[in-house]
């Protein structure tokens, strides 16, 4: 397989995963922003800090304006991380290798792109259809991922797509945890109760699993357990890195050991870091340090992956 094709498949999948994560996060936060009864002052500062490159001043300008945030994060072509830009990139990757996608997969991403391009977010905001817009976009992501699952052949390309997906998911889950714990000054023994975590859990579609799994204990410990260590939860760091490990393993017979082992080592390091941690070890080292280790390990692995498979020389 051509490196360029592998690279495009990887990034197509990664961008859609990114869009999906961002959209879910935006929807939950938007709903929270409407709830004036909770007593806490919601603002978008943490979201804007983690998911955009805006500076303090720019953040202050829109941090209390949900509609401005949505406009910026969904539709602003100047925002490198807007849904519009991400989906456009995803589709550009798809377009250069249409031949390697099923017709259904291409149509799905292409329709997604045209929807995003033609969407009048400002108008939707004026008509108070924000949630509809977000839900429509989330459905588009789900549609694409579903179409891939039922139509794409399980060859190298499939494994590259999955690696893109799980790398992105690992980083996103770490980011989301960061976002929520930042408000609590990363105090793992804080008394925040289920309602505080509800938004986060909803945005990762983990609320129900959470309620079923965790009945006692410190809520914030449970949240970390779900998002980092729970193997049943498809967005947990451990689940994602384990899947990543399986995907990488399919290439073991394909490439020289000298190239494979550094990747395997980097990923093994990430996986065992997560596997052998628990709440007490995480609180000892501090959550921010733990999360940043996860991000760095993932980035290092991703760079190696790209050097070996996509960088050609």
């Amino acid at each position: 397989m051509l490196s360029r094709i592998a690279d495009s498949l990887f990034w197509l999948s990664r961008y859609v995963e990114r869009a999906d994560g961002l959209l879910r996060m935006l929807r939950v936060n938007f709903i929270t922003s409407l709830d004036k009864t909770s007593g806490t002052d919601f603002n978008w500062r943490p979201v804007l800090t983690i998911f955009t490159t805006l500076n303090n001043e720019e953040i202050d300008r829109i941090a209390n304006d949900a509609n401005a945030v949505l406009q910026f994060m969904i539709a602003d072509p100047k925002n490198e991380n807007s849904i519009r830009v991400i989906v456009t990139r995803a589709r550009e990757n798809a377009r250069g290798m249409q031949d390697h996608l099923t017709k259904e997969a291409w149509e799905s991403i292409n329709e997604f792109y045209h929807l995003v391009q033609s969407m009048d977010v400002a108008q939707a905001i004026r008509e108070d259809r924000q949630i509809t817009v977000l839900s429509d976009l989330i459905h588009r992501c789900a549609h694409f991922i579903g179409v891939l699952t039922v139509t794409m052949p399980r060859n190298h390309g499939w494994h590259f797509m999955n690696m893109g997906k799980y790398i992105e998911r690992t980083v996103q889950t770490a980011d989301l945890l960061d976002l929520k714990f930042r408000d609590l000054s990363y105090d793992l023994n804080n008394p925040a109760d289920v309602p505080y975590w509800r938004n986060l859990l909803l945005s990762v579609a983990g609320y129900e699993l959470y309620l079923k799994t965790y009945r006692t204990g410190v809520q914030s410990h449970n949240v970390i357990d779900l998002l980092v260590l729970n193997m049943q939860f498809p967005r947990s760091v451990l689940y994602s890195t384990s899947r990543l490990y399986d995907e990488l393993d399919t290439f073991k017979p394909e490439i020289p050991a000298a190239q494979f082992s550094p990747m395997e080592k980097a990923l093994g390091r990430l996986k065992s870091r997560v596997e052998f941690s628990d709440i007490s070890s995480i609180s000892t080292m501090g959550l921010p340090a733990f999360l940043s280790d996860i991000r760095n390990d993932t980035l290092r692995f991703s760079n190696l992956l790209s050097q070996v498979f996509f960088a050609y020389v």
């Binding site: 490196s3 249409q98 031949d99 190298h156 394909e254 490439i255 498979f309 996509f310 050609y312």
Partner: protein, 403 residues
């Protein structure tokens, strides 16, 4: 929808004519990039070649496998009022449209299954296999599975669909310039398993964009150093670099002479009479009969840079004369030929439309094969003689009947 029908006898004549012509053109290309005997013997004027923008000095003296320059030609033929075939253009660079020929046949087979069988319509579907075998025969390395790729300019090229179609039907990799790299005068393809040496490139990228080190330095479609690998014989390029010197519209006028010169045969298929605007007498003749002439730029294709004397206003014709006088080498003129029409089913009724015929010829070390059929291009506008798809032309299937 209605296929155009050519009898077995007519086809044999066309086939023999194209075969003869391509044989001579291949010899011409080898000659022009080596000894230039045809210039020394005064058959083709030296100045005509020296001023041809597609005469590629960078490939002077390069030896290509089996001395084959033209591997794929899309030869355009027209029929006049008396049914005689004429060669209109040779198209020796990167002729396109073959995917339409193959797909049109799929459509007519579905629409008229019995007729196809009963009339013993000759098949065209072997084209990708024939082409693949020629590509295979050009490999410079004696390996059992040489790497053959189709080099496309990418998704923004209007023929991109055809590139994917052909790559898929031959089972070869579709690559862009950025997928290839040259090292130590060998070409490699970047794969997830590292660099893999490439042996044969069927390129659909024009010469001037092929290698930024030799040709246009701003090209991002090509592969830097590719010409060096080609020169060293480490990679075969299809069609060869520099073929444009042989399908220049002014050089075209000399193809019958080339046939005589290289093969010592009379041309089987005639040219359309062609007036070189550099020749003062011929130019005068054309200027006095502009309304019966079609004026063409020598280095344009696709129906661009063409003026039909019978349709153009007198202002346009006068302006054309000034353009010609300013740069006579860049123009030729041909008498407007009342080319043949075939019935077409348009807007619910049968209507006559002008057509040409583009058969696809494949030249390999074992000879020249012309797939029986080709693309019949149709000028969809009533009365129009311009069939190029870029000028509002359509196409239809061509049935060559069995003997």
């Amino acid at each position: 929808m209605i296929p155009r029908v050519i009898t077995a006898a007519e086809w044999q004549h066309v086939e023999a004519g194209i075969r003869q012509r391509l044989k001579a053109l291949n010899m011409f290309l080898h000659d022009i990039y080596h000894e230039q005997a045809i210039l020394k013997d005064g058959i083709v004027p030296r100045d005509l070649i020296a001023t041809c923008p597609h005469f590629t000095r960078e490939v002077m003296g390069i030896d290509v496998p089996h001395q084959l320059y033209v591997h794929i030609a899309g030869v355009d033929l027209i029929r006049d009022g008396n049914g005689g075939f004429f060669i209109l253009e040779d198209n020796l660079r990167t002729p396109s449209g073959v995917s339409y020929m193959l797909e049109n046949r799929e459509v007519t087979k579905r629409l008229f299954p019995e007729m196809v069988a009963e009339s013993k319509v000759q098949g065209v579907s072997q084209y990708p296999i024939l082409l693949y075998n020629i590509l295979l025969s050009l490999t410079p390395r004696p390996v059992s599975k040489p790497t053959i790729v189709l080099l496309t300019p990418g998704i923004y090229n209007s023929a991109y669909y055809e590139h994917t179609f052909l790559a898929r039907s031959m089972g070869i990799e579709l690559v862009e310039g950025r997928d290839l790299v040259v090292d130590n005068a060998k070409v490699y393809m970047k794969t997830i398993r590292g660099l893999r040496q490439v042996d044969v490139i069927y390129r659909r990228v024009d010469d001037e964009f092929l290698d930024p080190l030799e040709f246009r330095p701003d090209s991002v479609l090509g592969v830097p150093g590719l010409v060096t690998a080609y020169r060293k014989g480490n990679v075969a390029i299809v069609n060869a670099i520099g073929n444009g010197v042989a399908d220049d519209k002014a050089v075209y006028a000399y193809v019958p002479d080339m046939i005589q010169y290289y093969l010592n045969e009379a041309p089987i298929l005639p040219n359309v009479p062609t007036y070189r605007m550099e020749n003062v007498d011929e130019r005068e003749l054309v200027f006095q009969n502009m309304e019966r002439m079609v004026v063409k730029k020598t280095n344009e294709s696709g129906g661009y840079g063409m003026i039909m004397g019978d349709k153009a206003t007198s202002e346009v014709l006068e302006a054309a004369k000034l353009d010609i006088l300013a740069d006579p080498r860049s123009y030729i003129a041909q008498p407007i030929i009342p080319i043949s029409t075939v019935p077409c089913y348009l807007d619910g009724q049968l209507q006559a439309r002008h057509v040409d015929l583009r058969p696809y010829a494949l030249c390999g070390p074992n000879g020249i094969e012309i797939v029986p059929g080709g693309l019949t291009r149709v000028a969809l506008r009533e009365g129009s003689l311009v069939v190029n798809s870029s000028q509002g032309g359509g196409s239809k299937d061509t049935w060559v009947l069995g003997a």
